[in-house]
């Protein structure tokens, strides 16, 4: 059992990891075909995994209804919506039929509902900014000023504040949109690049640990 659950997966991770690294350096057709085949395998696994997901979803929600857990009414909503969308798709076709019931439900139910949840972000940003954006230290104060400039420089009201400064002069550097552009292009880019280097190296380190079987937690259990 240990052999099947630990040694075989580690061996697969090692062989496939090395194979995919080699594939990157070999441009021949056979190598490209191998890379494409692996990607197709990923697609197939993804498709079957979705079935596991649906099974888990139904199992979870029927359990909630059976046990009458807090908020089990929402579980009814999930199951009914899922069945309704499936039936609509089967009867009138999927997104390929723009006049069908499924497309109507997509356009007038799914799109507005998802957009609504995304829009809540605006309200949450406001409360988070009010609560947390404090000039506690000189660095935080600088950050605050930079944020204020960037916020004003990205909207017409802000740019109108300084549009009286003539372009082409030294003082044009004080126009909101030009300061915003400088902030985005110079300090912002520098900061992002620094973190990106760290992230990139972190990814390499984790990948090597997985390929060489040093990190095994992801396949269940310790090292």
């Amino acid at each position: 059992m240990q052999f099947l659950k630990r040694n075989i997966p580690v061996l697969i991770a090692f062989v496939m990891g090395i194979a995919m690294v080699c594939q990157y350096y070999i441009p021949s057709q056979a190598s490209q075909d191998f890379g494409s085949d692996m990607n197709i395998w990923t697609e197939i696994i993804f498709a079957f995994a979705l079935l596991i997901g649906v099974q888990s979803l139904i199992h979870n929600h029927t359990n909630k209804i059976r046990r009458k857990q807090v908020g089990y009414g929402f579980s009814w909503a999930v199951i009914i919506s899922m069945i309704a969308m499936t039936i609509a798709g089967l009867i009138g076709g999927g997104v390929d039929n723009t006049k069908g019931m499924y497309f109507w439900m997509f356009q007038y139910l799914q799109v507005p509902m998802q957009a609504t949840v995304f829009s809540i972000l605006c309200f949450y940003i406001a409360t988070a900014a009010y609560r947390a954006f404090r000039a506690k230290t000189p660095e935080a104060t600088m950050l605050l000023i930079a944020a204020a400039i960037a916020m004003l420089g990205r909207v017409p009201v802000g740019t109108e504040l300084t549009d009286w400064i003539p372009l082409g002069t030294f003082w044009a550097n004080l126009r909101m949109e030009i300061m915003t552009d400088w902030l985005l292009n110079i300090p912002n880019t520098a900061g992002f690049r620094a973190v990106m280097f760290g992230v990139g190296l972190g990814i390499i380190s984790t990948s090597l640990r997985i390929i060489f079987g040093i990190e095994r937690t992801y396949m269940g259990g310790g090292d």
Partner: protein, 285 residues
């Protein structure tokens, strides 16, 4: 009363934000926009390309980002079809976004009379970001056997001119996620087409390293990016004035929300300084 201003309840903040968003939209207010250089760069590329060039368009977003990214898509597609470019479009992000792509192209059919399979093709979604992009590099119709409507792609006239990524003159990925990075990694670097990204305002800042290194020729960031594009479109094509320009209208709401946020931050800081002063004096905050 003073305490109320320094400790605003959450619900009150939600209310004033909602008012700042709704009132300008209801009153139909509009403001002039100064296009950002990175948005102007995208516009200029499309404008400078000879008529009939091939544009690869990644409609990589889903319904959640629809309000922010659809105006950008509409403005960009309008420009492409005004310039009579051929548009090959895919969604490599999520199957949920395919309906939005259908809606966008259906609108273009009504506005410009473009024909699917001849002037544009929308190929829909296939899972696997890297796989899809790589397939476009080598052979589009071999991977995308049909378009999003299920019409066989091999028989489409547009694919006589566009075989693979090498035939693409420019690529734009309007994305809710991180797909523009994948387009650089697997698409632009292999096929060599110039590309740009359109993104939500939240992700805007993260693409500047790619813009500065030249890997991206431009960026359209959030509703402001869409408003910039609409402004440039109206300046260059006066007939576009009559079309609905949602992003420009939305910028008034965005202006007021930004101002409101600044006021809230200032109030929060006054409250913080006041509390700190009281604590230093030994009183109760």
């Amino acid at each position: 009363m003073t305490n109320f201003f320094f400790n605003l309840p959450r619900q009150f903040i939600y209310l004033i934000i909602a008012l700042a968003v709704f009132i300008p939209i209801i009153l139909g207010m509009e403001m002039d926009v100064i296009p950002a250089p990175e948005a102007e760069a995208v516009f200029n590329i499309i404008e400078d390309l000879p008529d009939g060039s091939v544009i690869l368009f990644g409609q990589d977003y889903d319904p959640s980002s629809e309000p922010e990214l659809t105006p950008m898509t509409t403005a960009f597609l309008r420009h492409c079809f005004l310039k009579k470019h051929l548009v090959v479009s895919v969604n490599v992000f999520t199957v949920d976004g395919v309906g939005l792509g259908q809606m966008a192209f259906s609108k273009m059919e009504d506005e410009f009379g473009v024909v699917s399979g001849e002037d544009y093709v929308y190929l829909g979604f296939r899972p696997g970001v890297a796989n899809s992009i790589r397939a476009i590099n080598s052979d589009i119709t071999n991977y995308y056997k049909t378009d999003a409507n299920g019409v066989p792609s091999a028989s489409m006239p547009i694919f006589e001119k566009v075989k693979n990524g090498k035939d693409v003159d420019f690529m734009l990925s309007i994305a809710a996620g991180a797909t523009p990075e994948a387009w650089i990694l697997y698409g632009a670097s292999e096929s060599g087409y110039p590309m740009a990204a359109g993104c939500t305002a939240v992700s805007f800042a993260s693409y500047f390293p790619f813009y500065n290194s030249g890997q991206m020729k431009g960026i359209l960031g959030g509703l402001k990016g869409a408003a910039d594009y609409e402004e440039l479109l109206v300046r260059n094509y006066p007939e576009m004035k009559e079309k609905s320009m949602f992003a420009k209208k939305g910028m008034v709401s965005q202006s007021w929300v930004h101002i409101l946020l600044l006021v809230l931050i200032i109030l929060g800081n006054i409250s913080f300084i006041r509390e700190r002063a009281i604590t230093r004096r030994g009183g109760k905050a």
